[in-house]
């Protein structure tokens, strides 16, 4: 069984991979994928904060006292936050994709090193 801390380490590694793609890759689409990976890493991080090994869904079943429920259920708040964050991520992803299309129409390339009219 994987421990809690190794999950965090893997998540931070995912974040690092995303940042690497944003910084090092020159392809527009690969940069966009990098941004998406970063967003997912952060969302996963939020979920992990509220996660509990072998926990139950945060719905109080009949005959369960509040104390029992609080002991067993996972934390529902990060899940609500992540839901919002995913929707925002969808918005930025759509904007990025549409900009990539427009950039390709203008520059006829996806290579960021050739999209360089602004400098200085």
């Amino acid at each position: 069984m994987i421990g809690h801390s190794s999950l965090y380490i893997m998540d931070i590694a995912l974040l690092g991979m995303g940042l690497y793609a944003i910084i090092a890759k020159r392809h527009v689409i690969k940069k966009i994928i990098g941004v998406a990976i970063v967003e997912y890493a952060i969302n996963l991080f939020l979920i992990l904060i509220g996660y509990r090994m072998d926990g139950i869904a945060p719905i109080q079943a009949e005959g369960m006292t509040s104390a029992e429920f609080a002991k067993m259920a996972v934390d529902p708040l990060p899940q609500a936050l992540v839901l919002t964050s995913i929707v925002i991520g969808l918005g930025t992803l759509a904007l990025m994709a549409s900009q990539a299309i427009k950039l390709y129409e203008k520059y006829k390339t996806f290579d960021m090193s050739e999209i360089n009219r602004l400098r200085g």
Binding site: L15, L19, I22, V28, K31, I32, V35, V38, E39, I42, F45, L46, I49, L77, P78, L81, T84, S85, I88, G91, T92, L95, M96, Q99, A100, K102, L103, K106, Y107, I115, N116, R117, L118, G120
Partner: protein, 499 residues
């Protein structure tokens, strides 16, 4: 009175949609609704100035369960800046945006941006702050690329990528704060964090927040997007971005989170001072070499935001007053300069200083407003920039940071140098042959330019007559930061949680 608080976010948010819908009937309605909305927001932010600290519980949910809107001195000042520049930029857009085809869409995005910024400065909830920050940011990404030409798209894409990284870093900070305290309410989190010993998690959260907000405010070394994005946007948007957005989303958010939530430890303040000092110097030197007027202004924004961050990082009362005063002044003269550069571009068709010259005789309004802005930002008395820069240098001396005081004084000379260059090549000199038929800008644009010029000169003269003139606005704002520094934000916490 606190029932106004949600309105100042809800009105622009709702009107953004209504503007788009109504413009299907007739395109001109968009002008009218946008003007009316920003005017109402401006009036509301003036009405709120008289209010003391108050909090509004959204939907009647008590904190820490519901979202709280908090109003205090710092928020009052930011609301005033956002909505006054927003109003003047809208008036300016009435004629400037004629050359773009999709004016109603422009206004809709503009109002969304204003709503997002108003939300960021009002909210008392960390995650809610992230959401409003994203509303304002996404609207601004789209607005930077509004021209859909080569340069605009490139700038917008870079801004979008780095802006998203900034937002996710902020979200990481929110997550870590939640992990430590189990709440996202800023006052509640603050109360718990202040009683905890400093841990590595807290330092990680602070690092994530500082990186995110530095990216948003364009501090060196996080500035790469700013000199591309700010000049490429339409002029009123450049004025909003440089004049307001980097302050509300960057400096304000950083100050609020550091002073009122995490607790201002000396190391955070030293990071702010270091980032500010580097930005101030690097931005200033890079601005000298620019020939694109708007690009020069963008680098100058980096440099001036450095001043603000240094003054806030000093952690003294005079430093807070000086920093906030400079933030206020910068929003007036930088938006004036960006609007002036837009007017120059509108009349002559270029923003390249090499192809300009002799505008003083042809464009009296535009060139005098450019001159007022340039003199204010370079710190020539009696314009407002002089007094805030003087206060910043005095605050550095008072805190016995001699090197910072010398740097601030030195960079103000550099500022003077590049603005003299800008004036020499635009207002004075020979009028190029190609531009003998240029005309002065139409009334709405001139109105914004003249109003902002009067504000720049008026604040300076009022300060000369009575140095306590700005205290009504600046003192409560500085007290908020002081409370965070000295009393573990106890007054902020009691405003939100009551009791």
């Amino acid at each position: 009175m606190n029932h106004i608080l949600p309105l100042i976010v809800a009105i622009p948010l709702g009107m953004a949609v209504v503007t788009l819908l109504l413009s299907k009937a007739a395109k001109r309605i968009a002008d009218f609704t946008a003007f009316l909305t920003t005017a109402v927001c401006l009036v509301l932010s003036f009405v709120l100035l008289g209010t003391t600290k108050t909090a509004y519980w959204m939907g009647g949910w008590y904190p820490p369960f519901g979202i709280t809107l908090v109003f205090d001195g710092l928020t009052a000042m930011l609301l005033l800046i956002i909505n006054s520049v927003g109003f003047l930029a809208t008036v300016y857009s009435l004629s400037y945006m004629e050359k773009y085809t999709a004016k109603p869409k422009y206004y809709a995005l503009f109002l969304l941006m204003v709503a997002g910024m108003n939300g960021v400065v009002l909210t008392g909830d960390l995650f809610n702050m992230f959401v409003f920050l994203e509303i304002a940011s996404i609207a601004s990404y789209a607005l930077v690329g509004f021209g859909v030409e080569h340069e605009e798209l490139e700038a917008s894409f870079k801004y979008l990528i780095l802006g998203t990284v900034a937002s996710t870093m902020m979200l990481l900070g929110v997550g870590l704060t939640y992990a430590m305290t189990g709440t996202v309410n800023m006052a509640d989190a603050s109360r718990m964090l202040m009683s905890m010993p400093a841990t590595r998690t807290m330092a990680f959260a602070a690092g994530a927040f500082i990186m995110g907000f530095s990216l948003k405010s364009g501090l060196v070394p996080f500035h790469a997007w700013l000199p591309d994005a700010h000049p490429s946007a339409p002029a009123p948007i450049s004025a909003m971005l440089s004049g307001v957005l980097i302050k509300a989303l960057g400096v304000y958010a950083m100050a609020r989170v550091i002073f009122d939530v995490l607790g201002a430890q000396p190391i955070y303040l030293n990071i702010m001072i270091t980032l500010g000092a580097i930005s101030m110097v690097v931005g200033g030197f890079l601005a000298i070499g620019q020939w694109d007027f708007k690009r020069m202004l963008a680098y100058s924004s980096i440099s001036q935001i450095g001043y603000v961050v240094i003054a806030l990082g000093l952690g003294t009362h005079l430093g807070f007053i000086a920093g906030l005063f400079h933030m206020f002044n910068h929003s007036s003269f930088k938006s004036l300069l960006f609007l002036s550069s837009g007017s120059i571009e509108h009349s002559t068709g270029t923003k390249n200083l090499r192809r300009l010259g002799g505008l003083g005789t042809k464009l009296p309004v535009t060139s005098s407003s450019t001159a007022v802005g340039a003199l204010s930002i370079s710190g020539i008395p009696p314009f407002n920039g002089f007094f805030s820069k003087m206060l910043i240098i005095l605050a550095c001396v008072q805190a016995q940071r001699w090197v910072l005081a010398a740097l601030a004084a030195g960079v103000s000379v550099i500022t003077l140098v590049y603005f003299l260059k800008a004036m020499r090549y635009s207002i004075f000199g020979e009028l190029p042959k190609a531009q003998e038929k240029i005309k002065e800008v139409p009334f709405p644009m001139a109105f914004s330019l003249i109003t902002l010029s009067v504000i720049c000169l008026g604040i300076g003269i009022a300060f000369l007559v009575s140095p306590t003139f700005g205290d009504a606005i600046l003192k409560p704002a500085a007290d908020v930061l002081m409370d965070g520094l000295k009393n573990n934000a106890s007054s902020y916490i009691s405003t939100v949680l009551g009791g």
